[in-house]
């Protein structure tokens, strides 16, 4: 009676032991293979301790990216204008350009980026766990994300707000008329919470339909499961632009929240956070100084303004302070253009106006860069 029992017990422990020995081995192998795949020229030496590298607390994200040879950038699963694969299957868009800009600063090569599509739900885990180096993914800067989620935001590259899109046939003029309506909303976003907050504040009844994938969500709205679809106005414009008949849909004038969107990185690596932040400021400052992809070389040679000279790396060694090449801004602007050019290339075609995203020198504009000194 006792012996078979003991055998079973021993067998169970044996299985557990095999598992236990296998687990750390798997954990150690995985990151070593991951960076090796996209770039064959990656240095193999630091791969021995990449888990520490990829997620280490202080000052090594840049080193890890350099060792790997590619920047791993979390983007949306597909939002025309911001980040979506084009007809050749190449990622393009406003957020994608931010990934490219950081890659250019690090490698002087816009192609050294691996894009990881993330959903609204898994994006933060992906960044926290070190699966991606940064997120450029229509993410709203909020206090709790800055603190308890453990992120640093690299500025605001798009001032947005939440709005509603309805079918023109419904004849709805403003959001307050949506009392009793069913509204499609993506889970895991500030959007979901804003919707509830706004409905409570406005004392109206809203029935949510919460579908995880963006495409399924839009499909439910198009099929008539929901009366309205809510997300950031930029996202609405992007969705509306790719519909068969964009004029069948109207974006209501009400904006129910502030949604400052920007790229973000993990807490604990100030050097990388600084780089991402100043890449953004550089793009904005370039527009302010009139530096474009066409004239950047000429400006670097001839422009008399000291700040332009410092930004373009002729003097001051600002690039070195950030830990990158001094010609970083020249390289970025030559390939991608300044903030205004990026906006025009990606977002103007989907029907977005500059609005608050104009430079601070224009009335109503909010885009502002601290001095390059």
């Amino acid at each position: 009676m006792t012996t078979p029992k003991r055998h079973i017990l021993a067998g169970a422990f044996g299985a557990a032991a095999i598992l236990a020995t296998a687990l750390p081995a798997v954990a150690q192998q995985r990151p070593a293979q991951q960076p090796a795949a996209p770039a064959a020229q990656a240095q193999p030496a630091p791969a021995a301790q990449p888990q520490q590298q990829a997620t280490a607390p202080s000052g090594s994200t840049i080193d890890a990216i350099r060792a790997r040879g590619t920047l791993v950038c979390g983007v949306t699963t597909g939002l025309a204008g911001f980040a979506a694969p084009n007809s050749q299957g190449v990622w393009a868009g406003f957020d994608v350009d931010y990934c490219k800009a950081v890659a250019i600063a690090l490698f002087n090569d816009a192609n050294r980026v691996r894009y990881v599509p993330t959903t609204a739900q898994n994006r933060f885990t992906a960044l926290q766990s070190g699966e991606v180096d940064m997120l450029a993914r229509n993410t709203t800067w909020t206090l709790s994300r800055d603190t308890s989620l453990g992120f640093d935001f690299g500025g605001i590259n798009f001032f947005d707000g939440q709005g509603f899109m309805v079918k023109r046939a419904l004849n709805v003029q403003n959001a307050r008329q949506l009392d009793g309506a069913t509204v499609c909303v993506q889970p895991g976003t500030t959007t979901e919470q804003n919707l509830a907050d706004w409905a409570r504040g406005a004392r109206i009844q809203i029935r949510p339909v919460v579908i995880e994938r963006l495409e399924d969500n839009v499909a439910a709205y198009i099929a008539g499961r929901c009366d309205a679809y809510t997300t950031d106005v930029s996202g609405l414009a992007s969705t509306r632009a790719v519909q068969q008949n964009p004029n069948d849909h109207v974006i209501l004038p009400d904006v129910i929240s502030k949604e400052p969107l920007g790229p973000l990185v993990r807490h604990g690596d100030q050097r990388f956070a600084d780089l991402v932040r100043w890449v953004h400021f550089g793009l904005v400052a370039a527009e302010e100084f009139g530096v474009t992809s066409q004239n950047v070389q000429e400006m670097a040679q001839n422009d008399p303004r000291p700040e332009v000279q410092r930004m373009l790396g002729r003097t001051g060694g600002l690039g070195q302070m950030l830990g990158v090449d001094n010609l970083w801004m020249i390289n970025i602007i030559r390939t991608l253009g300044n903030y205004g050019e990026m906006f025009e290339r990606n977002l103007t075609p989907i029907g977005l106006q500059r609005g608050p995203n104009a430079l601070w020198t224009t009335p109503g504009g909010l885009q502002y860069a601290p001095p390059f000194r």
């Binding site: 021993a10 422990f13 739900q121 709790s144 979901e192 509830a196 919460v210 099929a223």
Partner: protein, 400 residues
């Protein structure tokens, strides 16, 4: 196996040998190996725990379950208990658990009924019926569940909008907003009547047991149905009557964008229920078929020799014996329904996974969120397992 061996000689214990502290002693070796393995496993868990807490600490990611007390602020479309976004995360998660239980329980009941019918149909002597059941099983088993869920959801969305809703019977509306049924305003009296009904069911069950036991002694059959009708029908009615017999019809009507009032079956719930039921019924049908075929042909012949018609042979002789074969794999199917209900995220039914995902996204506490999901599924699954194991032990062949 029984604990008391028939032969007393086998009951004797082997003489205990004193423990020698030597590697050649099998018991010493066993103890050493087991201690090593247990120690190793514990060390791995400790390492995982330390690693996680260190990394969380370094990134200053908040930990702990304090967020459960905070206001959730997330909207939930359907809920069995009262809920609005000003309530806590705990309440929101509770709503999610109940939604999971709702679809799982209804799904299990429907899939069992449908699966049993299909399994019997597949063995039918009617050629057409048997082939249709066979084709159904093959088709449904071979397609991925997620695909089926999306198919049903897309199909339900193709229904007309609320203004052109199908209206087969007065007060019943079918549109892409779901099925609207007339109901009545729920009040306390109805809840009490519900409780009385549940008590009535328990009472009837106890009476039946007592009646059976008495019949064994005196041979007198006692009809259960009059007592059952009184306990399950008259008692709740009497309670409802005593509390003032409130009844206010609640008939759905179209106002603004949507139907107001009445009872709603949302397309999300319905698509999920349909997908889970039809999918799992295919598997259950095969289990039932296997169970029936496992009953010896002689049992059929013996029962028929007694003059029982085919239907009663099935219900009185074959199915009770087949149950012994059916129940253990059935437990797995019930667990599958429960776990597969987490695919709800894809079609927007707010079950525990959906709500916990949103929670962990808003609070950023992924580890706690995932732990809650795991705990919920583990609890539900273990409960189903325990119940089914108890039931299995009850119907198992008692060997002497």
């Amino acid at each position: 196996m029984s604990d008391v061996p028939a032969d007393p000689r086998y009951a004797r214990q082997a003489p205990r040998r004193p423990l020698r502290l030597s590697w050649s002693d099998e018991r010493v070796r066993n103890i050493v190996w087991q201690a090593l393995v247990v120690g190793g496993v514990l060390a791995v868990f400790y390492w995982l725990y330390r690693n996680t807490s260190y990394n969380l600490e370094v990134r200053r990611i908040a930990t702990g379950f304090g967020f459960l007390e905070r206001e959730a602020g997330l909207p939930i479309a359907e809920s069995l208990i009262e809920y609005d976004p000003s309530m806590t995360y705990f309440r929101a998660l509770l709503v999610g658990v109940l939604n999971t239980l709702k679809v799982a329980i209804v799904g299990i009941v429907l899939a069992t009924i449908l699966g049993t019918l299909l399994g019997i149909a597949r063995l039918s002597r009617n050629w057409l019926l048997a082939r249709i059941a066979g084709a159904y099983v093959e088709l449904v088993r071979d397609l991925p569940l997620l695909l089926q869920l999306l198919f049903w959801y897309a199909l339900l969305q193709a229904l007309p909008g609320p203004r052109q809703a199908l209206n087969p019977v007065e007060g019943v509306f079918l549109s892409n907003r779901g099925l609207k049924l007339p109901f009545f305003r729920w009040e306390d009296a109805h809840s009490w009547a519900m409780i009385a009904f549940v008590l009535g069911v328990v009472g009837t069950f106890l009476y039946r047991r007592w009646a059976r036991a008495r019949q064994m002694q005196d041979g007198q059959p006692r009809a259960v149905w009059p007592i059952g009708a009184a306990l399950m029908g008259a008692l709740p009615l009497a309670v409802w009557w005593a509390l003032g017999a409130p009844f206010q019809p609640d008939i759905p009507f179209l106002r603004g964008f949507n139907f107001q009032g009445g009872l709603t079956v949302s397309p999300e719930f319905f698509a999920l229920l349909l997908g889970l039921t039809l999918y799992t019924a295919g598997f259950i049908a095969e289990i039932v078929r296997a169970g029936i075929l496992a009953v010896n042909q002689g049992q059929w012949e013996a029962a028929q020799a007694l003059g029982l018609p085919r239907g009663r042979v099935m219900s009185l002789v074959v199915l009770p014996q087949a149950l012994r074969v059916i129940i253990p794999p059935m437990t797995s199917q019930f667990l599958n329904i429960t776990k597969n209900s987490s695919l709800a995220v894809a079609i927007g039914y707010q079950d525990i996974v959906s709500i916990a995902n949103t929670t962990l996204n808003q609070t950023g506490q992924a580890i706690e969120g995932i732990a809650i999901i795991m705990l919920v599924y583990l609890t539900i699954s273990l409960s189903i397992s325990l119940f089914m194991n108890w039931y299995n032990a009850r119907i198992a062949l008692v060997e002497r």
